[in-house]
Amino acid sequence: MNSEAILRSVAFADPEYLEQALKPQKMTQKSKRKARFLVPIAAVLSLMLLAAGVAAAVIYGPHIVAAKTQEDSFDLILFGGDAAEDAPGYLAQYYLPAQLPEGSRLKRGMVSWISEMIWTVPIGDTEGEITFHQVALRKDLEEYPFLNWSGIDLNDMKQDNQKIGGVSCWIIRDGSFETYFWNDPENHYLLYASFNEPIPQKMREDFLNSVAPASQTDVCRMMDVEERTVWYPNDLPDRFEIYPFALYVSNDPSETGFAVASDHQGRSVTLVQGKHLPKEEFDRFEKSERDIDEISVCCYVSTKEMDGGTIKDEVWCFTIDGKTELQLDFCSCNTDVFTEADMIEVFRGLAEVPIETLDLVELNRNK
């Protein structure tokens, strides 16, 4: 059965389907409105940033990726990278757990976005080096409560003004190490690596030395890579559970995407991955000629030039894995303002639980 045979066989498609396919189709205003997921992230972010005392001169925005299994059920949702810290991921971690009804199928966990570091190593036969960038470069994150869990002194971490971005999920499984991350300086939107063999000893040593300097090994521990474990700080709150699972990615730099992974117990895992994406990168992303298989919607918000608390040039984008069945097929990204109703819709789609209200501002105030 070759692909040409399939192409020839498609020729026998019902003429009614063919006629239908050719009919002009445009989004209705209603569906455009429905597709526009807007939350007052700017307001939340601005409050957070203001609270942090940061005058953000840098354009950045959360770039959240959510995925949903085809079975419409979630055994586990993991929030990685910036999604774990930014408003949607933040809210999902703090708000959803409190609001979920008894016996909800949704569980939540957080993989160690806090394991950011600068680490440049050659990866097997893959071309070039892969560099993980430090979120620590973004000083506004110092005020985030999550960072305290890592025990890492941000001031001691290497500084590299040329690099921005964050590290996503770190999963160690069966001695192999698979990760996914963003690589900004090379202007590639996505560069990731998949290790299918046990971590070379040298790599492991480098990893440990970067992440957990000698003075901090008592607060950051990496579990034995020979077992199915995930690296996480030892003071992670109990409500967060870490499941070992594999995130299937490709080591082909020309590919992009997030995989919905399965854990070893047969449960499905959904990854919500976050990445701050400067607007200019987003623009390039949109204009990229590459096929992006896994992303159906791209959402992104930018806070630009905090001017007395005024947020300018807001663009909100929400990226969803291609397997999602959510109605979030597309999003208008032009200075719209998200509403709480939209955010509720997002999480309703993700969690399939009734979430009637979502008080973003109140939540933030509590934190």
Binding site: A5, L7, R8, V10, L18, A21, Q25, D291
Partner: protein, 185 residues
């Protein structure tokens, strides 16, 4: 002139049928052929061959939809032409991309050439298409029947290109699972 009228003329061996067929559906057929072959002159040749195939097959054939019967013949000619071209050199067009996309997600086994298998596949493809949501089906057919590029599909359907690619990716995956389930892969 309607399809039925054209078929009647064909049965009467009246060559006006071909003129009508070409004037009515020639443009669509040519564009599809061009996307496959990547070359206009080759596409036009395929359309001419397609017309000849129609003439030679009707009667006794009496297709329900002359339009898509004709286009199918043109597509096949274009695919054949493309295969010959490929032996000599690589050309442009959408076919390489479409084949690669399908190949990537639905890897080839043996090359199925026998008529029974082809017919079975064709039947099952329609079952598969029927199960798809309309939007996904439309995108899939636009890409793999009409051979439209993703950007063109996106524009026509009011979608983002990335969205189209995702839909195609998803449907290909579903098609693969379907073909496996049907024992065709």
């Amino acid at each position: 002139m309607t399809d039925e009228q054209m078929i009647s003329l064909l049965y009467l061996r009246d060559e006006r049928a071909l003129e009508e067929l070409k004037s009515t559906y020639g443009e669509l057929a040519t564009s599809i052929a061009q996307r496959i072959t990547g070359m206009m002159d080759s596409a036009e040749e395929c359309v001419q061959d397609g017309l000849l195939d129609v003439w030679n097959s009707i009667p006794p054939q009496c297709p329900e939809s002359l339009k898509y019967y004709f286009i199918r013949l043109v597509r096949n000619r274009a695919l054949d032409s493309r295969r010959s071209q490929h032996r000599m050199k690589r050309g442009g067009g959408e076919l390489p991309s479409a084949l690669e996309e399908l190949e990537h997600d639905i890897p080839s086994g043996s090359c199925v050439e026998d008529e029974i298998s082809k017919k079975l596949l064709a039947e099952r493809i329609n079952v598969f298409l029927k199960e798809l949501p309309q939007r996904d089906r439309d995108v899939f057919l636009r890409r793999y029947y009409f051979m439209e590029p993703s950007a063109s599909i996106a524009s026509a359907m009011g979608l983002k290109r990335s969205n189209v690619n995702v839909i195609l990716f998803r449907v290909r995956k579903q098609l693969k699972e379907f073909l496996i389930k049907e024992g065709l892969l």
